[in-house]
């Protein structure tokens, strides 16, 4: 039996919604960031899969995934830098403790 495109999509969808669920429910900012990584990863998979199955002759999805990985790495770096900074100031990275910024 062939592994068709839907199988990959099922995996990425579940990963995506697991990320979403995590993003909604976690209170720790790092955990939220991890959930974001999950979501990003799921989209990366989708790009690669679509490219591979639907347009195998081209490389758009491939490169998109590549750049996306680079950018998510950068994003992680910045986010973590911010979090460390916050942690230094308020000794916590729980979302409920850092509501002051919104006022």
């Amino acid at each position: 039996m062939m592994i068709n495109i839907e199988c990959y999509l099922v995996v990425s969808t579940i990963m995506m919604f697991a990320g979403i669920y995590g993003f909604f429910t976690r209170h720790n900012m790092l955990a939220m960031l991890i959930s974001v990584e999950l979501m990003l990863n799921a989209t990366d998979i989708n790009f690669a899969v679509f490219n591979r199955f639907l347009f195998p002759a081209m490389k758009e999805g491939y490169f998109f995934s590549l750049f996306s990985i680079a950018i998510s790495a950068a994003e992680t770096a910045i986010a973590i830098a911010i979090m460390i900074n916050i942690y230094r100031n308020v000794r916590s990275i729980q979302t409920k403790d850092i509501e002051d910024m919104k006022w």
């Binding site: 697991a18 195998p56 490169f63 910045i78 973590i80 000794r91």
Partner: protein, 171 residues
Amino acid sequence: MGATFETIVFGVLAMFIIVMSVLTVTTGRIVRSATYLLFVLLGTAGLYFLLGYTFLGSVQIMVYAGGVVVLYVFSILLTSGAGDKAQKARRSRLFAGLVTSVAGAALVLFITMTHHFVPATGNEIPVETGINNIGRMMIGSGKYEYILPFEAVSIFLLACIVGALLIARKR
């Protein structure tokens, strides 16, 4: 035979990824969460290998699994104190999140399943693109070549490095 092997590998990888990603968001400890994430990322790299995108897979392992997760672990170590154990979320909130996610997943899966994809005909066997080829495409300026995004990302990464340093440095 090859197809069957692939199917088995895919099945194992898919189960592994699904379980790990669910564990990532459900586990109470943040370190474990990061570890499960690492497994998810590795599994994803496996999927890329399976698709025949070996370069992408290796990038995934090197950058994600190697770089990002390490960053996570370090930052967890730096920021976790007494409250490293994730706060128990409110039940209603958990429930709302769960319902929404499940509903969303169901909806998306339903669409995915009902949508009729038209796979490209032709060679089913993945053709590995050579690294030198990828390198050319990366710095070429013709059609389907990506010098502009490449440079943008480079500057972006530089900016991120500087920014991360600036933000995280001690005052």
